[in-house]
Symmetry: C3
Subunit: 424 residues, 3 copies
């Protein structure tokens, strides 16, 4: 099997689990990831802990939930899909009329077959999410709403994997483990991140890697509150890995700064892979880059995605399922991010080691007979020699001469082996 | 009555007075302004005083002037409109033939009904301005030209109003009092400036205000020669107020620098009020910004106008009258400039006071239930939190997030009241 | 005769000579140039000398060469055109079959009437260049190839002319003397350079001039290896003079830096002369700017050309002849470069010497009567006064106000004579 199918099978395995900011579903997800990444450490932070401006909420767990109509027929059942229940719903067992019930129902009139994803993390509430087609057909009468959940002091769980490299400087990968049964947003993210970690573990690494599997917002705030100073010292580039599983497009969301190494590398890679990728500024942010790029945090973190959250019709509904995310889509997301990491690993400031052009012919690097036709690899080599003046890194030179950075790496190495290029 | 009609009535009252660089008409105009601004101080600078590279000219006063034709009929009379006489015409009482007279006549063949505005400030001369239709009908014969004027040592007059604020830094407003009967250029300018001063006097002020009513060129040079060092220290933004009375368009003329606070604020305000406003560079300058932005002076002064001088057909003719300038036109000019001042008053470098996003929900600033639809005011608040890092002022943030600065002020204040934002 | 015809006659005189990196043809060419520039010094560098990463090659001389077919008919003769022989062909006198001969033949199938220009400077080889029409008609059989050449220790020759000016800072002109019978690339270059030198010798000079006539690549590397430190200290702008003889277009190739004085001046001049000129970046480089702009060398050198090398169909073939290069084409190339030099000579940072606008009227520099029509020269003068603040050089001001720099020079001088402008 290829990597795309492996990843899709992993998404499918995790799909039914009911994840949230906290709770057993998130813990189980982290344990399954740890099955692939044995060195993953799982951390638990007690409810009530202050993290920056926030407080870790109580832990939510849910066992079952049903909404039964006046005729005794079940309208919604947590067992059918966990999206039927508003996230963090408090326990309830009540009978109520349709009018009163409506205040606890959510649906999407413009997408009548989709069950929306709704949460109420920080205000006690209960509710059910229905397709609008089902909701519109509800008849007056007495309904029974039962949610067997608990909201009680517990722990917020997250996973962390630190992979050492030759240098203490770090590349940072962050993905979420808090969404219930939705595939692109977000199982694609944790899956691609897991496979990137597996690949990184198997290759020599210049940089160290800090990889976190966290609940969105409260998780990144918690993580930052514990590691900010170290990350500000070490992180050279970071990626929020989310929505990397469908086949439609590539998308890029810049850091707040807009021109960090991560921005430059991601733009360069996507320009080469698919020049029509969607370009989003930090104004379109929506995931944990909100924390990583916040004033005073200012980490060089971007997002490389397929169809971006908020921008595809299935987003945050039951339609974001195992058919939207595909093996090819996941593999595309994985490949783009791996390319970004490869470019970062090989990104150096090269400097020509001679004055004037070197005599390539005597080293067998240049055709001996002058002819009009250009050889692209010779042209790229000559351009490296012309532009590597020690002031530009490889990505800048690659952009300038219009060649993918990864095609320049062997050229740099060849020139360096002839003592014609050195790291500035 | 509304402010537009008040201002139009003021223009109408001043319209008949014959103003020039010097003389009783300018003095009378200043006295009428002082009727609205009792603290206005009127300064007099003697003829012959050296001001930078210039010398204050002799004072010009005119009582009457007529041009009578061979048939005894009056061709032009200063009493009909003061535009009939070339500004600073020396006294004359001569009879002369039509050919000789032609050298003293001015008209506009392409605007045959308009009487042009012509001056000869620094070279002794006399002349009459006629509509081309009248001039073309002149018959040969003996004409009698009489101008009862004096050019003699006297004084140049200007008005100055200093309005203190909390800070010694100043906003500067400059307008002219030297044009005879023309409404957009320039009675609109001094009128809008007077009403801006009245408004400023009634509100709390962060900045101090320096407001001058001066003759063009020699007046601004005179004023600068007396106050340059202080102005260079204090003025944070300035506006030449001219041509602010018609209804056609808004126009902006940048400072020489092009990117001062005044430039940024004026562009921001006009972008929001009327994105189709006319954009002029300093190459199109023509009023006292020539002095305020001169090398070595370099004050941050721009012009926010309606139809710009030199750019509308009635410019510098008798057609620039009380029908071209309207209550709505004046009110538009006033409003745009008042907005500029309001934005300058509220322009600060805000800085988020917490690390990571603050938890807005616990303060009632954020919806407790996650829903797809965005609330614009919440979005603007989130963007303020994301972009206020202490390096950008309010205008920069407003431009970045695409919201008028004045809509951000209450958001800043609300966040500041929760200790989430502070002035950097 | 005019200068264009003089230059074309010079091209014609030099056309038949067989130049190469080294050898008697190059020496003879330098002697003929010296006939026009008696102070030209001719330098000789021995074979085997190390110059940067290169070694001066053995000297190549050729007396005759013929390729005779099976029927006894001559296929190619060095006497017909020196392009028939591959540059630096080693001596040979062999009989061989057509198949074996083919490995020593060069032609251009897509330009069947053109004889290509081919060299093998650094690898021993011999060969003939034919039109493809002739080559395609070759019949099987035994051919006799005779080349009476020598490749032996000798000298590389180049010419250098240093013309002193008031300042030690230098303008640098570099042109090639290594191509055989081709007119645009490159006899046009050395010819226009010779005439520029003649013109420079006859006029007062602010800058000193360093003018070199060198073989391409090895010549510039040799020259730099001897003069780099001095040139880095002194050269304010430089031009590679090549391909300046046809009438089709103007072309500009920027320095590696892209924004040196030479870049700014050349763009300004070509914008004024022919706004449709071809703009090439340093990515399209191909002549000695490769050395002059190499990392660590970094001289401010650009190319101002007519049809650029590599970009016209006759390039490096026998079609680049005395019909492609014309008197008008040469004169155009000469004029553009002379304009560049004139602008550099007159480029200064002017600064207004008064505060506020000066009173031009009292000096007779401004019309005494206000009239609507603008006088272009007055407008340019006012713009000089507004923009000459000591931070911009003449070229920057000229670009800003949209007037050719050379039209501003007399205005600057006039204002300076009134003490209104001074050099900053």
């Amino acid at each position: 099997m290829n990597i795309g199918h492996d990843m899709h099978a992993f998404v499918a395995r995790l799909f039914p689990i009911c994840r949230s900011l906290t709770g057993e579903g998130t813990r189980e997800t982290l344990r399954i990831i740890k099955g692939h990444l044995p060195d993953l450490s799982i951390h638990e932070v007690p409810s009530g802990t202050q993290v920056f401006d926030w407080v870790i909420p109580d832990e939510w767990n849910i066992r079952s939930a049903t909404l039964v109509g006046p005729d005794g027929a079940t309208v919604a059942d947590f067992g059918w899909t966990n999206l039927h229940v508003v996230g963090y719903s408090e326990p309830v067992d009540v009978e109520l009329g349709l009018d009163e019930l409506q205040e606890h129902l959510f649906s999407l009139p413009e997408q009548p077959d989709a069950i929306p994803y709704v949460t109420s993390y920080y205000k006690r509430f209960w509710g059910f999410c229905l397709s609008h087609r089902v909701r519109a057909a509800l008849k007056p009468g007495t309904y029974r709403a039962r949610i067997d959940s608990t909201i009680a002091p517990g722990r917020l769980s997250y996973g962390e994997l630190l992979i050492p490299g030759q240098e203490p400087q770090e590349v940072f990968l962050s993905t979420n483990v808090c969404h219930p049964s939705m595939a692109n947003n977000e199982l694609s993210g944790l899956t691609v991140t897991t496979w990137l970690a597996k690949w990184l573990l198997e290759r020599p690494r210049r940089y160290s890697y800090r990889i976190v599997f966290i609940p969105e917002t409260i998780g990144s705030i918690t993580y930052l509150s514990r590691h900010l100073e170290q990350m500000k010292e070490r992180v050279v580039a970071g990626f929020v890995v989310a929505c990397v599983g469908d086949e439609r497009v590539y998308s890029f969301l810049s850091s707040r700064n807009g021109n960090t190494l991560a921005d430059r590398v991601a733009r360069h890679v996507l320009d080469q892979i698919d020049p029509n990728y969607m370009r989003y500024s930090f104004l379109n942010r929506g995931s944990d880059e909100r924390q990583y790029c916040a004033p005073g945090v200012d980490l060089p973190v971007v997002s490389v995605m397929r169809s971006k959250y908020c921008e595809y019709p299935e987003y945050h509904t039951s339609l974001d399922d195992l058919t939207l995310v595909t093996p090819a889509g996941l593999e595309g997301g994985y490949t783009a991010l791996r390319r970004c990491i490869e470019v970062i690993e090989s990104n150096r400031r090269w400097q020509v080691a001679v004055l004037g052009e070197p005599q390539l012919g005597k080293r067998g690097l240049f055709p001996s007979i002058s002819l009009p036709a250009e050889v692209p690899s010779v042209k790229a080599m000559m351009n490296m020699i012309a532009y590597c003046d020690g002031t530009r890194d490889l990505v800048e030179v690659a952009e300038l001469i219009g060649v993918p950075a990864w095609q320049l790496v062997p050229i740099c190495e060849r020139l360096a082996s002839h003592d014609l290029l050195r790291v500035a």
